[in-house]
């Protein structure tokens, strides 16, 4: 299938996302420049991690106004699939394509680690190759990953099954220590109401090869998308 990976000034993980898609999964992936408005026929758009516009003002706040974001908002409104990892998640929240916002980690420290997330809802295009309750080991690296939203909004998000991934410990239990950044309800990844836009703080694109330290659990999320468009 056709993928588009957006490069903003300050994006870091666009090259890794392209590598994962092209070299590891044999997908047709195109780099999309943020000033371009064309999505080049992509069936799924990836907003990568990094520090778009230096994280100035608030993470993702300025990238949100890049020309390509208008096309992406239209694409999402038409049901197109969009994934934002890390800074991409922050951009999607600032663009209001996802509810809530990501703020400074509870610890105030930048965290670079591996975490375990539990699949909460496997009936989405982003998780359909997994089963609810599956544990995925994925890397994180962020300073602003604490997910917050108004309480009533969180309640609705939970009720609709929009929480796709939650931080848990190795046994699959939700504990305070397993929540790396203090996210509300230990939320690691959420979808919009239509389940065609997905944001997550962990990096599936860094976990695509068994030989490397990150393992290859990230592939399950990409394979879900591929299965869903088939």
């Amino acid at each position: 299938m056709k993928w588009g990976v957006v490069s903003f000034p300050g994006s870091l993980d666009d090259a890794d996302a392209l590598y994962a898609l092209r070299e590891v999964m044999g997908q047709d992936a195109t780099r999309l420049w943020h000033k371009d408005e064309r999505l080049m026929g992509a069936q799924c758009i990836i907003l990568p991690g990094g520090f778009s516009y230096g994280d100035y003002l608030r993470c993702g706040a300025i990238a949100r106004f890049s020309p390509i974001m208008k096309s992406i908002a239209r694409f999402a409104a038409d049901g197109g699939l969009v994934i934002g990892t890390c800074n991409g998640f922050q951009i999607l929240c600032e663009a209001r394509l996802l509810p809530g916002v990501l703020v400074r980690n509870r610890s105030l420290s930048f965290i670079c680690d591996r975490v375990i997330v539990r699949v909460e809802n496997a009936r989405t295009p982003f998780t359909c190759a997994t089963r609810a309750g599956d544990l995925l080991r994925l890397p994180i690296k962020h300073g602003e990953g604490r997910y917050v939203a108004p309480e009533d909004e969180i309640r609705q998000i939970e009720e609709r099954g929009q929480v796709l991934l939650r931080y848990v410990d190795a046994s699959g239990a939700e504990t305070d220590e397993a929540n790396p950044n203090g996210s509300m309800h230990a939320i690691a990844g959420i979808a919009n109401e239509r389940f065609n836009v997905f944001g997550l703080m962990p990096h599936p694109e860094h976990a695509v090869e068994k030989m490397l330290v990150g393992g290859d659990d990230g592939l399950k999320l990409f394979h879900s998308v591929i299965e869903s468009v088939r």
Binding site: L57, A61, F65, E94, V101, R104, N105, V148, P150, G182
Partner: protein
Amino acid sequence: MLVKVFVTPREGILDPQGRATEGALRSLGFGGVNSVRVGRYIVLDIDAPTKAAAEEAAKKMCEQLLANPLIEDYRFEVEGA
């Protein structure tokens, strides 16, 4: 016209920067510090025909970009004219 914008974390939202600063002030021996919240101060120099027009523009800027209403409150002062 000068517009001074103050953006602060919304009440009830955990402000780890404010909390860390509060702890540091206490450990420096400053007593009576009940709470600290850390925000942003933005100074804009804008062209506007009247103070009311400047206020209107500033409000739009705050809502669209300078503050995120989910987590931040803002206020501003317009000077000059």
